[in-house]
């Protein structure tokens, strides 16, 4: 009935296929429900309820995306909502990965954040909203919609980073992230404007059509536009030299937010980057590939090398995530369907790993009674004796990040290397693997610290660690056992997924290989 009523109205509405934007609706709807409930039922009483709704929404979104993928396999991909959203395998697969990251974070995140910043639905709502932004970015087939998704995601993340208001570190991190984020969004937008000027449209498919049919005499404006877009994505993905914000923000933000941010920001940004570059600018490959190569190599090298001297664990993991960004960029620079598949695999494996890792680190932080952002190697020394379970799980995840065999990390690095070698960029593959070896050194130092028996193993060189960064004061933090259970489920899930896909990667490989971009 409603449909017929609407059709008679004089203004012609574009035919909206709600099925394509189902994932966003689910998440956004859940966020609204949580807000509405908190207004009626009361903010403090039912944290479990909001977390439950959030979890249900995440699982529902995952199921919906999986169903979408099945439909696309049958009926083929299509553009929806007048070309703004592309409903193809790629978006569905990214939807599934976002769902996975969201489920894990829903399990691990809220427990810690609430114990620090008080009960309340805000955290769950922000998680759902940022995930919506991520999905919009992934599905966007229009540069403006990409910008829209980017901003929804970023603004939600700015607030989440600054979530622990009483702690100066968190506020400072939020501010830095905000100012630099704003700046890079402006740069990104200017790039979009220039591309719009040069090609007459912001729709990726139309841009591609325009560029393939016309030959621009002076393509300066177009190239500069593409470059600025790459800067925007470079910032979001924390690729060197636009990475400068990430160590401080990773250290300042609450640990579980750091984990979520490291995963979700990369998923969304890489998805959008892949789609924009593969669809709109695949003809300008000769131009933008060297830029991505430069970004990749710089991130690989400096990500690994800068991490060597870090003593604070979250800062070290920040640099290591820059190294991981470098690896995923390898998939992007390959610019082949294989490259896309390998980048997706790396994204999936990496986000599960990183959320689990940061979950464990927040557990260790709480256990050691340390304040956020100052957990150094010495605090973790000999953890293997005190809490063997946590130590072993953390060791597995750290070794997975290092690329040890029988973990998904190994298959991820391996597949990305094959992508690069398939385009005959052998020297980059060698550089990548050597940086992996360097990265192995500091991963190993962490694992060694976990299981080392003698306390006094501090080399002279390491005495230069800056004075302990004093932040807010929340000693004697207690976690209710009720909230511990989902945390453990989340951590065990991430370790299980990492090891399972290490042993039997075919499942994930098939999934990501169905994630083809439609153009």
């Amino acid at each position: 009935m409603f449909g017929s009523l609407v059709s008679q109205l004089p203004i012609r509405l574009p035919s909206i296929s709600y099925q394509a934007i189902g994932p966003e609706l689910i998440l956004f709807g859940a966020a609204l429900v949580v807000l509405a409930l908190s207004a009626t039922v009361g903010r403090r009483e039912h944290p479990q309820l909001y977390r439950g709704i959030g979890l249900f929404a995440a699982v529902a979104e995952g199921a919906w995306s999986a169903n979408l993928l099945r439909l696309i396999d049958q009926h083929g991909p299509s553009l929806a909502i007048a070309g703004a959203i592309s409903n193809d395998g790629f978006s569905a697969v990214v939807g599934i990965i976002v769902a996975a990251a969201l489920v894990l974070t829903m399990l691990i995140g809220p427990g810690f954040v609430e114990s620090v910043a008080g009960q309340g639905p805000e955290f769950v709502t922000l998680l759902l909203l940022s995930a919506t932004g991520a999905i919009v970015m992934a599905q966007a087939n229009d540069l403006i919609v990409v910008f829209l998704g980017l901003e929804i995601l970023s603004i939600a993340l700015y607030v989440m980073v600054g979530f622990r208001l009483r702690d100066g570190l968190s506020r400072e991190a939020a501010f830095k992230y905000f100012i630099l984020g704003g700046f890079s969004s402006a740069v990104f937008l200017y790039g979009v404007a220039l591309v719009y000027g040069a090609t007459g449209s912001t729709n990726l498919v139309k841009i591609a059509a325009f560029l393939s049919s016309h030959v621009l005499i002076n393509n300066g404006v177009l190239l500069f536009g593409i470059a600025l877009i790459l800067v925007g994505f470079g910032f979001k993905v924390s690729a060197v030299p636009f990475h400068v914000w990430s160590p401080d923000v990773y250290q300042g933000a609450p640990t579980s937010v750091t984990g979520y941010m490291a995963a979700m920001a990369k998923i969304a940004a890489f998805a959008a980057l892949l789609r924009v570059m593969m669809v709109a600018f695949h003809l300008q490959l000769e131009f933008w590939r060297p830029i991505v190569i430069a970004l990749a190599v710089l991130s690989l090298v400096f990500g690994a090398v800068f991490a060597l001297r870090q003593r604070e664990i979250k800062r070290m993991l920040a640099y290591s995530s820059i190294n991981h960004a470098g690896f995923i960029l390898l998939g992007v620079l390959a610019a082949t369907s294989g490259g896309v598949r390998d980048s997706l695999f790396y994204l999936g494996a990496y986000s599960v790993m990183v959320i689990g890792t940061f979950g464990l680190i927040s557990l260790i932080q709480v256990d050691a009674g340390k304040v956020e952002g100052s957990l150094s190697l010495d605090d973790v020394r000999g953890l293997g004796r005190r809490r063997p379970a946590v130590a072993v799980l953390l060791a597995i995840l750290i070794l997975a990040q290092a690329g040890a065999p029988f973990t998904s990390g190994f298959i991820a690095k391996f597949s990305v290397i094959t992508a690069v070698i398939s385009v005959n960029e052998y020297w980059i593959a060698v550089v990548a693997m050597v940086t992996a070896a360097v990265a192995a050194a500091f991963y190993l130092r962490l694992v060694l610290a976990l299981f080392s028996k003698d306390e006094a193993e501090v080399g002279v060189g390491d005495a230069l660690y800056p004075v302990a960064v004093r932040g807010g004061s929340d000693q004697g933090l207690r976690l209710s056992t009720a909230s511990l259970v989902p945390i453990w489920i989340g951590i065990w899930a991430s370790v299980a997924i990492t090891v399972f896909f290490g042993l039997f990667p075919t499942l994930l490989l098939d999934l990501v290989s169905r994630g083809k971009i439609f153009y």
Partner: protein, 101 residues
């Protein structure tokens, strides 16, 4: 005698450069924030100019999205700035640098 579109583009580019320069040099947080907004408005001008040159409504529609997003940014940004500088007397950006190394 209408002014050719490219002039507007040059003005927009200058505005964008000015905004970026402003963010770099000014120490007051509020002014930095305003500079970012200035950069966004420069982009709007570019959009409108291109829309007019290509006489395509897409550019103008994009401006609305940008305005909405800028507004959201202002809200969140000011919230954060107020939270940070509630306890401090001055608003200079350089003294919030305890996260380093």
């Amino acid at each position: 005698m209408s002014i050719p579109g490219s002039w507007y583009l040059v003005v927009a580019a200058l505005l964008f450069g000015l905004g970026a320069f402003g963010v770099l040099t000014r120490r007051n947080v509020i002014v930095m924030f305003m500079s970012v907004e200035l950069m966004l408005n420069a982009v709007n001008l570019t959009f409108v100019t291109y829309a007019r040159m290509l006489n395509d409504v897409g550019g103008q529609v994009a401006v609305f999205f940008v305005l909405v997003v800028a507004a959201a940014e202002v809200v969140v940004g000011l919230g954060i700035i107020v939270a940070i500088f509630r306890h401090r007397a001055t608003v200079t950006v350089d003294d919030i640098s305890s996260l380093k190394g």
